[in-house]
Structure formats: structure tokens, C-alpha cells
């Protein structure tokens, strides 16, 4: 038994730091490997050492210039368009549904909420075959509009978290606004939304990253229409057996570039996360 408090504290801390460092290395190593590989000069898929001996930007340059077979810029743009549209539509619909369930009282509100929860428990891809045939019947298969529809159509079901948030916003604010003559619509846009930045940001982030990273639906809908591929599909194509020996390093570069929009969005939105807004708002 170690008696000195200081020694014991130092030992405990040392142990904790060792564990944390190991965890950190385990977590960071794949990312570091990916980034290093994307700058690697050796062209083979595997090398028997971790740190490359030659470094180059060529993989990135090729990724954006050699577009005859692997059209990464086009896929990037497709994904960006789909993600932006889906993000706007889903964010608006999620927030509206949440606000409705939080503030309005109407017949079978409870039942609809319950149905919503139950439906939300089934993963979306369970219905992919049905979705495919519906989309095909509408003449939209192999089309980016189909993806936007799929990603945003069911978004309203994800109301649970933001409804919980709206429930914490005091109803007194609504009442005050109603007395001043505001309609429900005005209350939602002008009073509640500006005060709910954290949940708005959260909703934006989740509804952007979902479409950005989705593979299953895009694979089902797009088939052989390479021009309409999204990044997830494109990256997957690059590691198929007939492409991998030529495109593996571009794949790594592509995987790094994919992270940029999400990181940028997150950094931009991050500050709103920490801003508590609701507390004390009534006092105003």
C-alpha cells in the first residue's frame, strides 16, 4: 500500500494517461494511415511498412483531373447537391413536425406520435425494394431527384429529439407572442426557431451527413448510371477488383476529401452548440 498521497496520485494519473494514450493511438492511427497513404508515392496497394518513403500530391491532382473513368468531381458535386437539398427539406420538416407535436393539441396527437415512433424503429433500408419500385413507377430511377426524395420524405419521423427540446422552451413565450397578435406560423419562425439554435444545428448536421454518407439507397437507385453516382458509390467502385490496382491511392485521397465539407460544416456550426439560449429568455 502506497502511503504518500502525492505518489499515489501520480501513479494513478500515469496509468490513466497511458490507457488514454493507447486508446488515442488506436483511434487516430487509421485516420493517420489514410492521410499518409493519400500522399504516398509508392503505387502498389499494400506496402510492408507504415510510413511511406516517397510523398506526392499526384493522387489528389489525378483525382480531380483524370476523370475519364473515375469522375470524382462529378460524384462530389452530385453528393453535394443531394445532401444540400435533403438537408434543407429534412431540417424544415423535422422542426415543423416537432413543433406541431410539442405545441399543438389535436385529436389523435398521441396516436400519431406513437405510430411515428414505431415506424421510426424500422431501419429505412427494410423498405428499399418497395421504394425502388415506387421510384421506378414515377420514372425517377437513376436520377438524383429520387435520392433527394428518399432522404427527405421520411425525415419528419425523426422528430423525437427536437420535440423534446421544444418541450423545454417555456410556453409562456408562445402565450406572450399570441397576446401580441402573432400566428402559430409566426411564433414558430420568429420566436421559437431563433431560440433553438442548438437543436437546429443538430438537425442540420444529422440531415446533411446522412445523405452524404449513404450507400445502400444510392446503390439501389443508381444501378449502372455512373454519371449519377454519389461519392459513397464512387469510392466503392474504386476498390472493386478491376479498379483497385490503379485507383487505390486515389481512393484514399478521395476518402480524405470527403471529410472536408462535413468538417467545415461542423466547425462553422459548432459554436452554436455551446450557446445556451433558452434559459432566462422569458425575463427579457
Amino acid at each position: 500500500m502506497i502511503k504518500s498521497y502525492k505518489l499515489r496520485r501520480n501513479l494513478t494519473n500515469a496509468l490513466i494517461y497511458v490507457i488514454l494514450s493507447v486508446l488515442c493511438i488506436i483511434w487516430v492511427l487509421p485516420l493517420a494511415w489514410l492521410i499518409m497513404t493519400s500522399f504516398r508515392g509508392e503505387t502498389q496497394v499494400y506496402i510492408p511498412y507504415i510510413i511511406p518513403k516517397t510523398w506526392t500530391f499526384d493522387n489528389y491532382i489525378r483525382l480531380f483531373t483524370d476523370t475519364s473513368i473515375v469522375n470524382y468531381p462529378r460524384w462530389f458535386l452530385n453528393t453535394f447537391v443531394v445532401a444540400c437539398f435533403s438537408c434543407v427539406i429534412s431540417t424544415v420538416s423535422v422542426l415543423m413536425v416537432s413543433y406541431t407535436f410539442s405545441r399543438l393539441r389535436f385529436k389523435s396527437r398521441k396516436k400519431i406520435i406513437n405510430i411515428g415512433f414505431i415506424l421510426g424503429m424500422f431501419p429505412g433500408f427494410l423498405t428499399m425494394v418497395a421504394i425502388y419500385y415506387l421510384i421506378k413507377a414515377m420514372g425517377l430511377s437513376q436520377n438524383l431527384i429520387a435520392l433527394i426524395l428518399i432522404y427527405s420524405a421520411g425525415a419528419g419521423l425523426g422528430f423525437a429529439i427536437s420535440k423534446g427540446f421544444f418541450d423545454t422552451v417555456p410556453r409562456a413565450l408562445d402565450e406572450a407572442a399570441t397576446i401580441d397578435g402573432a400566428t402559430r406560423n409566426q411564433i414558430f419562425w420568429k420566436i421559437i426557431l431563433p431560440m433553438s439554435k442548438p437543436i437546429v444545428v443538430y438537425t442540420i448536421l444529422t440531415s446533411f451527413t446522412g445523405p452524404w454518407a449513404d450507400f445502400i439507397m444510392a446503390r439501389i437507385i443508381m444501378g449502372d448510371a455512373k454519371d449519377q453516382y454519389t461519392i459513397a458509390l464512387g469510392l466503392w467502385t474504386m476498390v472493386q477488383k478491376e479498379y483497385i490496382d490503379d485507383y487505390f491511392l486515389m481512393f484514399c485521397a478521395g476518402a480524405v476529401v470527403v471529410a472536408i465539407p462535413i468538417t467545415a460544416l461542423f466547425l462553422k456550426m459548432q459554436k452554436y452548440y455551446v450557446e445556451g439560449v433558452t434559459g432566462g429568455a422569458v425575463k427579457g
Binding site: T43, Q44, V45, Y46, I47, P48, I69, A130, Y132, Y133, L134, K136, A137, M138, S141, Q142, I220, G223, D224, K226, V239, Q240, K241, E242, Y243, I244, D245
Partner: protein, 456 residues
């Protein structure tokens, strides 16, 4: 009024959904595909005398090739490696018929042969009119009526010009058919595998036997990659022991003509040699072998023709050796490894809107001229007999080795999909150093394989 609007809207939306759902169902039933008039085109019975055509006849007469079809639009699925050449050949086809007064538009889309069948099954209406696929998918595509039967007028030309084993893999007979029908056009004759090695490490004598290869690999600390964990390669164990495959008449049950006593001896030989060495690797050959050769970590590997060009680049042409598979010592006797040998075919989608033209195109693309161009320009081994025996193949080290292996192989016919995974798991266990290799365990691995193959 408001209530009314709501009701009308509700009924309207509901019927829209119902209509779209039904429309969807229509598209999902490909089973009627082969029975439409086009697919039975002169294909019902061969007892009637049918005029036979060659590719030249077809290219010289639009009536023979296309019937009454005009303003044709076709989509062709081919792998990326051949796409540019395929488009060029299709353009030549279009040009030829333009002179004969017909308008055709052909678009070639990249689609690897390994997934072509699966993607066609996903939605035949969106699939290509003409698709290249590997022979392992033929049976499933035939069973689901996804392929059009080849016109009887083309059969004789196909039969006489192609390698017999290649032609055998495009013939299928359903439970209700009185005789075999031809359902695809053989496109290549080299979809098998051979032993690729680094000449700087292994000599011509070393590569004749598994024992020779492993001895050098162990000494030089270099790897020998043979992906037995994949059924395409793993079937070497039962086949080397004299096993063969057949199918029940209703095409639903795999019959294994296996003799466990013999198989256990071959399996023991593999297990003794491979599971005891750190340098024998049953790994994903498609992603590791080329890098391994380039890094100098691999001395040899068993892989197919699709990697010839990449390996040539990695090793340099002068260092690349390719030979048929080696022998293995079973019961003190050198026994030649027997592999499975596949082909690539072109098939015509049963849902094609222009079946005559699509068939003519597939016939032309798999004809001697196009196969020769593919062999010369991208190194694909032909299925046309005269080309396979010509200098095009005999002067090409890699292709020659793959064709040499053909005599020590079983053709890829009568094989159900369940065969591959189960066989791969069995062979993978046999060479896996972490698994037990006593008699009881080996028998258990074998029994599991047999059971899993029979589960549909």
C-alpha cells in the same frame, strides 16, 4: 367543402400509391421474359430445318440481322478494361448497318462481369440489352428466364467455331425442356487461373510441385498466395481427389460425386504442407498479389487472367513466370492439381426491346474478328477454337499457361451458387494454421461443406 377536399385528396393519393405499387410489381416479374415471341424466335425446336448463318451473313444482310427492327437503341454492359474497345466494335457494327439503311445507337456502360448477373436480376428492364458475364452466373440467369435463347440460325456457327468446353457452358436444359438450348455467346476462353511466380526467386523446376514452391518460400521467407478460402480456388481439393459435380434434373439440387477417402488424403497433403508454414497465405488474391510482387514479399500466387497485365507491370515482363498449377504429393505420389475452368459469355436480356438486333450484336461481338481484336489489344484469351490454337495464345506466356491448365480442370457447369461459399470455407479450414487438423476435425469440416451445399 374543406372536408370534401380532404377526402378527394386522400382517395387520390391512395390510388396513386396503389397504381405505382402495381406498376412496380409489373416490372419485378421477369419470368415471362423468355416466353415472349422474340425469345422463342425460331428457338422452339431444332427438328425443323433451320437456315444457318455466319457472322458475315449477319453483317451483310440487315433483314437477317435485324428483321423489321429499325431506329434501335441498345445498351451493352462490359467491364471497364474492355470498354473502349467494345465501344469501337459497336460503332463499327452501327456503321455497317447504317450503310444498309438501318439506324442503330449503342451505348457501352462499365459493368464488371462478376456482378452483371446480379445487377440484371435487380431490374431486367433497366439492364443492358447485351451483357458480358462470367460463366458461373449462367445457370441462375437461365433458371430465372433472364436470358434470351440464342437464335437457332446461329447455333451451328457457335458450335463449330468455339472450344467445345466453352460451348458446353452456354447450353442449358430446364426440367420441362426436351432438349438443351443455347442461352449465351461464348466471349473468352481464359477465365481460369494458373500459377504466377517471380522468376528471380523460383526456378522452372521449383514450380512443378507444391513441395518445391513451399521449400523455396520457407527458405527465402517469401509468401505463396493461394486463396483456397474462396470456393473458386478451394474446389481444387475435392477436384484433385477426383470429385465431380452434377445437378438434379430440376436444377435445384447439387450432386457431389465425392469420395471422402480420396478427398481426405488430398486435404491432409494440403494441411501438412500449408498450415504448418508461415509463408503459405490463403488471402484475397485480387488485392494483395500485385502489391506483394511489387514489394518483393510474394514469390508466387495462383490467380486468373484478369491480373496478367498488372502482374506484368509489377514484376517486369522478364521476371514474370506463369505455368499450369503444380502437383502435390498425395500418398507419396505426385498428383496434378485439378481446378475449375470458367469462361466469359455475352448474353441477351430477355426484356430487350430489340431482340433481333441485340442477338446480332452479341453474335458479332463474340465472332472471330472481335475476339481477335480483344486478344491483340487487351490480352483476352479467345473462345474461338482457331484463335485459341493460334500464335496469339501460344506465344503469350500467361495465356498459354491458363489454356494449359484447361486440360487439368473441370468446366464451370452444373454448379449452384451454394457450392462456392461452402467449398471455400472447407478448403480455408484445411489450410488455416489456427484450426485443428486431426481426422475428426477434418471430417467435420467436410461434413459441414456437404451439408451447406445441399441447403438452398
Amino acid at each position: 367543402m374543406y372536408k370534401y377536399t380532404k377526402r378527394i385528396l386522400g382517395v387520390g393519393l391512395a390510388s396513386l400509391m396503389a397504381v405505382s405499387a402495381l406498376a412496380g410489381c409489373g416490372g419485378s416479374t421477369p419470368s415471362d421474359g423468355a416466353s415472349d415471341s422474340s425469345s422463342k424466335d425460331e428457338g422452339g425446336s431444332s427438328s425443323v430445318e433451320v437456315k444457318q448463318y455466319t457472322v458475315d451473313d449477319v453483317m451483310g444482310d440487315a433483314k437477317i440481322a435485324m428483321g423489321d427492327e429499325d431506329n434501335v437503341t441498345l445498351k451493352v454492359w462490359g467491364p471497364q478494361a474492355s470498354l473502349a474497345l467494345l465501344q469501337k466494335q459497336c460503332d463499327a457494327f452501327v456503321e455497317n448497318f447504317k450503310k444498309l439503311g438501318k439506324t442503330i445507337k449503342i451505348e457501352c456502360v462499365a459493368q464488371g462481369e462478376a456482378d452483371a448477373g446480379t445487377n440484371l436480376k435487380t431490374d431486367p428492364e433497366k439492364g443492358a440489352d447485351v451483357l458480358c458475364f462470367a460463366s458461373d452466373q449462367g445457370l441462375e440467369l437461365f433458371k430465372g428466364n433472364y436470358l434470351q435463347q440464342v437464335r437457332l440460325n446461329y447455333r451451328e456457327a457457335l458450335e463449330s467455331s468455339n472450344l467445345e468446353s466453352a460451348y458446353n457452358t452456354v447450353k442449358f436444359k430446364g426440367p420441362d425442356d426436351t432438349e438443351e438450348g443455347v442461352y449465351a455467346f461464348p466471349e473468352t476462353g481464359d477465365n481460369g487461373y494458373a500459377l504466377f511466380y517471380d522468376k528471380r526467386v523460383l526456378s522452372d523446376d521449383d514450380v512443378k510441385t507444391m513441395e518445391g514452391i513451399m521449400e523455396v518460400c520457407n527458405k527465402e521467407k517469401k509468401k505463396f498466395a493461394f486463396n483456397l478460402g474462396d470456393g473458386f480456388y478451394g474446389c481444387v481439393i475435392p477436384f484433385t481427389a477426383g470429385g465431380t459435380l452434377s445437378l438434379s434434373d430440376d436444377l435445384t439440387t447439387q450432386k457431389l460425386n465425392y469420395d471422402y477417402d480420396k478427398i481426405s488424403k488430398v486435404a491432409k497433403a494440403f494441411s501438412d504442407l500449408c498450415s504448418t508454414s508461415d509463408y503459405f497465405k490463403s488471402e484475397d488474391i485480387n488485392t494483395t498479389l500485385v502489391s506483394g510482387f511489387k514489394n518483393g514479399t510474394h514469390a508466387a500466387g495462383v490467380v486468373g487472367s484478369w491480373k496478367i497485365n498488372d502482374i506484368k507491370k509489377a514484376l517486369g515482363e522478364e521476371n514474370m513466370g506463369v505455368v499450369k498449377l503444380p502437383t502435390i504429393k498425395v500418398d507419396g505420389k505426385d498428383t496434378q492439381l485439378i481446378s475449375v475452368y470458367g469462361y466469359k459469355h455475352m448474353g441477351v436480356n430477355a426484356k430487350s426491346k430489340f431482340p433481333m438486333t441485340a442477338q446480332a450484336l452479341a453474335f458479332y461481338l463474340t465472332g472471330e474478328k472481335c475476339q481477335k481484336e480483344r486478344c491483340e489489344e487487351i490480352g483476352w484469351g479467345p473462345s474461338i477454337k482457331s484463335l485459341a490454337e493460334s500464335e496469339l495464345v501460344t506465344d503469350n506466356v500467361a495465356l498459354k499457361a491458363i489454356y494449359d491448365q484447361q486440360q487439368y480442370s473441370l468446366p464451370q457447369i452444373n454448379i449452384l451458387t451454394s457450392f462456392w461459399q461452402a467449398t471455400g470455407t472447407y478448403a480455408g479450414n484445411v489450410v488455416n494454421p489456427d484450426k485443428k487438423h486431426d481426422d475428426a476435425s477434418m471430417k467435420e469440416y467436410y461434413d459441414n461443406m456437404v451439408e451447406n451445399i445441399s441447403i438452398q
